[in-house]
Symmetry: C2
Subunit: 293 residues, 2 copies
């Protein structure tokens, strides 16, 4: 469904469509539209596009196969492109005591789709970021490296916050600072399972060597894969930072994702806290164990 | 809180109390009473006892410390002991093709507290039991050993179903049948984490050797501990069966446990299915890998 939401409008327009309704990207059979980004291709007419619920999509599909008279769908939409406005990433820096020129970033994104509150996507990542800082301070931790706590802007609609952060990071690299690791929480506030890593083999092996330390906290997943949209562009830096994304349990995420149900009533307080504790633990383990070079 | 719910009434009566209100056994700060079993001790007056919500308990505790006039609580209760009635375990047997005299049991319990629907406790265990059988049949599995799918009665209030099953099992052992393993699902319908084992070292090591096979399904917990109330009495058999209990994620269980919120609206379909798949997988692995002797 992801390619249909993102590219369906242009693909349909190329085939002559004058509008497109996309089956929502969700595991749920529900009556809620789940929104998300769409990219119009250049030189193809920009036709109206809307997400409809999985239940409605199935009903429409069924109707298209069974009705004998022509099937007409009327689309009445009130969305407009208001253009761009300047906004910023929000960055808190905690200076390192031993290696202040080496930077470890933790972040989530501030923006969300207007259809809900963005509680899981990505209010939870924002809470994880702030709470990890609070927790590390509460236990009296003194960071060896500089830690940056970043609330990114515009993840959902262009990733301009993440791209800008990486651009500044590249300038910092030239000036002698070095981004050694970054972690993102942008997969919901559900009970944590572990982390997904986008890193060199040496980094992946280091994190996996912590498994027995993390096992009592029910953290067991240390796979490879994308870390997060916001920190992803940091991958281009040389030397390459160790990137990781928090992996919460994923069974319920797409029930709520980009819908009117992504509200705080659907975030479990204890699960949210465990995600924050996981982020704090990973920051601490990275700070203590990243190789000095 | 468990000892207060179970033994608080008699402990308070011994100290002269004429009634007792127990803070509910739950992690949640809510306004719901969470019920459960209570055991009156012999030769101590049986005083009225009720669970009150954690919010109400905190308010009452606060009031007891701050009000200057005597604090009076009126208890009006309509519960009665209706005596016992005969009920039975419900047992389905799938006869083994190679070792029909060796029995592997999977079960949950049919009874629940009347305050809710018992959807997680233990409707989910009942669904897991039935669905594991359906799934194994659907994939065309032929069991080597005899599998029994058991819906136990009276788990919440005396465990007479579990005790009776173990009593019959002991008679079966004398007659040449042998209960080699049993699994119970009585910890909710949440996303599965693994199993808890009450078994000899050899059995625990065997199950742990399956970890890499089960890892892709996000099953990672293979600890030791209680297996389940219903199958627990099977532990007394000689030779001792390998007992295990399904371990779903536990963060939300006591939010609902024994309360009016333990209803099917609060069970996630996909998580319930994953629990059933875990039970089916464990049955299959036990059937294939238990040592022949």
């Amino acid at each position: 469904a992801f390619d249909q939401r993102g590219g369906g409008a242009s693909a349909a327009a190329r085939a002559g469509a004058i509008g497109v309704l996309v089956r929502s990207l969700t595991h749920a059979l529900d009556t809620l539209p789940h929104t998300g980004s769409l990219r119009y291709k250049a030189d193809i007419p920009r036709i109206p596009a809307a997400a409809i619920s999985t239940v409605d999509a199935s009903a429409l599909s069924q109707a298209s196969k069974t009705v004998t008279s022509p099937l007409t769908v009327r689309m009445r939409m009130n969305c407009v492109d208001l253009g761009t406005a300047e906004q910023g990433n929000v960055i808190g820096e905690w200076r390192g005591s031993e290696r202040p020129d080496e930077i470890i970033t933790l972040g989530g994104h501030l923006d969300s789709w207007d259809i809900g509150e963005g509680a899981h996507d990505d209010g939870s990542g924002v809470v994880h970021t702030l709470e990890a800082l609070r927790a590390l301070k509460a236990v009296g931790y003194t960071p060896r490296r500089t830690m940056r706590f970043v609330l990114f802007i515009n993840e959902e609609n262009g990733n301009r916050g993440g791209k800008k952060y990486a651009q500044v990071a590249a300038e910092e690299h030239l000036a002698g600072l070095r981004h050694v690791a970054a972690m993102e929480s942008d997969a919901g506030g559900f009970v944590p399972r572990g982390v997904r890593m986008d890193a060199l083999d040496s980094g992946v092996e280091m994190v996996r060597s912590w498994a027995s330390t993390l096992e009592p906290y029910n953290l067991h997943y240390f796979g490879r894969g994308g870390s997060g949209v916001d920190i992803g562009p940091l991958k281009e830096l040389e030397p390459r930072p160790l990137l990781m994304g928090l992996v919460p349990d994923g069974q319920r995420y797409f029930d709520l994702h980009h819908s009117s149900q992504d509200v705080w009533e659907n975030v479990h307080k204890r699960e949210l806290e465990l995600g924050a504790a996981t982020c704090a633990s990973m920051l601490l383990m990275l700070d203590r164990n990243l190789p000095a070079d």
